[in-house]
């Protein structure tokens, strides 16, 4: 037998790798290829053409959209970093009163759909907003919330939790010895932070920032509501899609492909920067939390609580609005539960569907992300590198594009392979899986491979070693990852709005339609239910994860 033949020994993980690749090929690559193909199709003749791209790259309408998109995404990301990084540092390195409160609020900020957030900001800072009116009454003029400034504000407050959560997790895993060593070598605390701590958590920061950037590029709700003539690629793509409905959505798809390309370039840049940084951190010497005193302590508390409260403000406005008395779409003054009563006969189906689809997707995500993270972290093969790369793709593909891909691939004419509910579960699964994999992967990187080797050496086959040793050790990461994907799945709108039909309406779609109809009471009540349920689950898991931490160290 030749050496090369003996080298190939298919084991459990080889089979798992194959399965993962197959799933990604069918549910990720195939729909995207379909969309890519559509962008080269002539809508009228059905022939292959470059005219869609020529159209997009020559008309000022599209080019200014491109400039606007880059502008708001860039400054939105900068803003998110300016809030998220200090917040993460304070929470992980100092004693903060109400730390889990701050963290819970930060996660809750992720929950509210962006268009609700944008609408709530108009209610506060719009030309007839209550803050605007109040400030005007005392003679202070407010800058306009409409246009680029408002969009950047919403992106900043909406997306900073990604930077915060990623950076905080990394900061908690930094071996304190590194910081001690820096101090010992003569670094003042602030020097130590910039020269040692920041570089160590830079991979996490940049990952968080890239997520902000990509989400800002793909977001359509915020610019749609706050833009007032300030158009981004996403609003252009959306209106193109609507005007092309019935025919092939070629221009919408072409604009979307350009959005994907922007995100892809950002991601490639980040990966290049990170390519040479790999930190295997042992958890022998954990960071300790310091106490601040005096005005510094007060300022730090003001900052932490202030950031999350301001970011929470739109949700609070929504909750408040849900308790305003309504008659149909009209607020009648005073308080009441009419909006909640209306959910019961207007939207029970939407609530049931949302939970059914999201939980099914999260179960799939949990199973797959634990397997995938093992393959990525422990097996350094071409296939595992390919999987790692492919998992970036869902971040980059706007929901509308993915949904068009799904519909045109799996549901043509009367052919509907998975049913509409199945399609929704699968699209949540494929689009939200990276959140799960991210979290489990970083958890797993901190587990020494020798632990699994010990299990295998003691006679446990690979699957058994994985279930009895790896899974219990990455459980905190797995829970956090599942939670993140659940939150993003249950709030999914941009794909659902393309795919859903009469029987598969979900809460976000119901909210969106209600907002469009001016039924803001109903929308607010539904959003509040969503906020409360998810917030509760976030809080429980945070408590749970804290206990987990202490029981493992």
């Amino acid at each position: 037998m030749s050496a090369s033949l003996r080298r190939f020994r298919p084991d459990f993980w080889t089979i798992v790798t194959g399965l993962i690749l197959a799933v990604l090929a069918v549910f990720l690559i195939l729909p995207i290829l379909r969309v890519l193909l559509l962008s080269f199709v002539d809508a009228k003749t059905g022939g292959i053409t470059l005219s869609n791209y020529v159209e997009v790259f020559t008309r000022n309408y599209y080019l200014s959209g491109l400039r606007n998109t880059l502008y708001v995404a860039f400054f939105g990301t900068i803003g998110a970093c300016l809030l998220g990084i200090p917040l993460a540092f304070f929470v992980s390195r100092f004693h903060i009163r109400g730390r889990s409160w701050v963290s819970t609020l930060a996660i809750l900020v992720l929950v509210s759909p962006p268009f609700i957030s944008a609408y709530a900001w108009i209610m506060m800072l719009g030309s007839n907003g209550f803050i605007t009116n109040f400030l005007r009454s005392i003679g202070v003029a407010t800058p306009t919330i409409y246009g680029a400034g408002g969009i950047i504000l919403v992106f900043t407050l909406k997306f900073f939790p990604f930077v915060f959560l990623m950076t905080q997790t990394a900061l908690n895993a930094v071996n304190k010895s590194f910081e001690d060593a820096a101090e010992n070598l003569g670094c003042a605390p602030w020097e130590r932070f910039f020269k040692v701590t920041m570089p160590l958590v830079f991979p996490a920061i940049s990952t968080g920032a890239i997520i902000c950037f990509v989400l800002s590029v793909a977001d359509f709700g915020t610019p749609a509501i706050l833009g007032h003539g300030f158009r981004t690629l996403s609003t252009i793509a959306l209106s193109a899609y609507k005007s092309e409905l019935g025919g092939a959505p070629t221009i919408a798809v072409t604009v979307s492909i350009i959005m994907m390309a922007i995100s892809m370039l950002a991601l490639v840049a980040q990966r290049r920067i990170l390519a040479r940084r790999r930190y295997a951190s042992s958890l022998t010497n954990l960071p300790v939390k310091a106490r601040l005193a005096g005005w510094r302590n007060v300022a730090m508390h003001l900052f932490c609580h202030g950031v999350v409260l301001v970011a929470m403000a739109p949700s609070l406005v929504v909750v408040y609005t849900s308790f305003l008395q309504t008659k149909g779409p009209v607020f009648t003054g005073g308080y009441g539960l009419e909006s909640y009563r209306r959910i019961l006969y207007d939207a029970p189906e939407a609530i049931a569907n949302s939970f059914m689809f999201s939980i099914s997707a999260v179960i799939l995500i949990t199973i797959f992300s634990s397997l995938i993270s093992y393959v990525i972290v422990r097996r350094e093969t071409v296939a595992s590198g390919a999987i790692d790369f492919l998992l970036m793709v869902p971040y980059l593909v706007p929901g509308v594009v993915m949904a068009i891909g799904f519909v045109t691939t799996f549901r043509t004419g009367s052919f509907n392979l998975f049913g509409t509910a199945g399609l929704l579960i699968l699209i949540y699964f494929i689009r939200r899986m990276p959140y799960g994999v991210r979290s489990t992967t970083s958890s797993l990187r901190q587990i020494k491979p020798s632990l699994e080797e010990a299990a295998i050496n003691l006679g446990a086959p690979p699957l058994k070693a994985f279930l009895t040793v790896t899974i219990p050790l990455i459980l905190p990461g797995l829970i956090v990852g599942s939670l993140m994907s659940f939150i993003t799945a249950i709030n999914e709108l941009s794909s659902t709005i393309i795919i859903y039909d009469g029987g598969t309406i979900t809460m976000p779609v119901k909210v969106y339609l209600a907002v469009l109809d001016g039924e803001f009471g109903l929308a607010a009540a539904l959003s509040t239910v969503l906020l409360l349920l998810t917030g509760l689950c976030v809080y429980v898991v945070f408590r749970f994860a804290d206990n987990r931490d202490s029981s493992f160290l």
Binding site: L451, N457, L458, G459
Partner: protein, 353 residues
């Protein structure tokens, strides 16, 4: 209890040869140590035996049964890890019981065997502790207990003591050796610490550059190194260059074997004397300038430099006359000719006698 026979083992990482034609024969019950500097291939060899690396060629037999194609979890070789690899989510008892459960041993027998082995490693009172409540030394005892409780045919240890402090290392070293002897378990032990290797082993196998340099008893390794690398790596040694098959350093004039290019002499063989001393019968005398005398209690270390700039070191009983000498004073190093070893050209140049 099993013999281990490794033949023609080869392992490549891309173009880099990690293991080159490894042939090892370990008698049943022996304590066999792989010794070498980092990167020499010793850990690669150990992990290949454990099944964590797949060899490119060669066979590994335990008691005549080839195991080199078996997956790691079916090899039945116990392993003790450098970083302990104690499962942090399981108690000491469950850590030790892990392999037994895997082998579907009955519950009552698991309890008995776990209790027994914890007594052997002196952790009887710690069965219910979680790993984070144990010191490093205790964790490594758990690691050992976990590996031996399954009664493996072969026990592999990957620098198990290197993460412990010096005193504990010496204590645990003796204990490891005692347990290994009592159980009579064939053991392959990886270390870069030569003292550890010499103190514990039946056979020491010195590796360098993925190649076995010499495998022999500790005494043989020290007294009769097979090549220059072994002579330099195990214990301290002075190396003197040769000129035209003669040792001429410091005025000595001693014929050497024709193919030799260097001569080695152990520091404890060299004696130092003040001034210029002619060689006695059957001895060599090398004149040098004193560089430093370091008195460390039981002995003194005398460092000198020959005219050609070759450093020399002698370790001897403290002599007030030598300790009192100033730097730069003339000294003579002497040694019996019979204690000189000659080596051929190169870092791993073969021994020539």
């Amino acid at each position: 209890m099993a013999s281990v026979e490794i033949s023609g083992l080869r392992k490549l990482y891309g173009d880099v040869v990690a293991l080159s034609d490894i042939n090892v024969s370990i008698p049943s019950g022996a304590f066999y140590t792989l010794l070498g500097p980092s990167g020499c291939g010793k850990t690669t060899l150990l992990r290949t035996i454990a099944g964590f690396h797949l060899q490119d060629a060669g066979t590994i037999e335990v008691d005549g049964i080839p195991i080199e194609t078996l997956p790691a979890y079916r090899r039945d070789v116990g392993m003790v890890f450098q970083d302990y690899a104690i499962f942090p989510h399981l108690s000491v008892r469950d850590n030790v019981a892990f392999g037994l459960k895997q082998r579907k041993v009955k519950g009552s027998e698991i309890a008995r065997r776990v209790a027994d082995v914890l007594e052997v490693v002196q952790l009887g009172a710690f069965a219910n502790r979680m790993p984070h409540e144990l010191s490093g030394g205790q964790q490594q005892r758990v690691g050992l207990a976990r590996a031996i409780v399954i009664e493996p045919k072969v026990l592999l240890m990957d620098e198990p003591l290197s993460n412990l402090d010096a005193k504990l290392r010496v204590d645990l070293r003796a204990e490891l050796r005692r347990i290994q002897r009592d159980l009579g378990i064939t053991t392959i032990y990886v270390t870069h610490d030569q003292e550890e290797a010499l103190a514990m082993s039946d056979i020491v196998c010195v590796m360098f550059g993925g190649v076995i340099q010499q495998a022999a008893t500790p005494l043989d390794i020290y007294m009769n190194p097979a090549n220059r690398f072994v002579a330099a790596f195990v214990g301290a040694n002075n190396f003197l260059g040769l000129e035209g098959a003669r040792l001429v350093s410091g005025g000595a004039s001693v014929p050497a074997p024709a193919t030799a290019t260097a001569c080695a002499v152990r520091p404890e063989v060299l004696r130092a004397a003040a001034g210029s001393v002619p060689p006695a019968d059957g001895e060599i005398a090398v004149a040098a300038k004193l560089r430093e005398v370091s008195f460390i209690g039981r002995e003194m270390e005398v460092f000198g430099t020959t005219d050609a700039g070759e450093p020399l070191k002698a370790v001897a009983r403290p002599d007030p006359a030598i300790v009192a000498l100033r730097e730069g004073s003339p000294v003579t190093f002497t040694a019996p000719r019979a204690d000189l070893l000659y080596f051929a050209e190169g870092e791993t140049g073969a021994r020539v006698t």
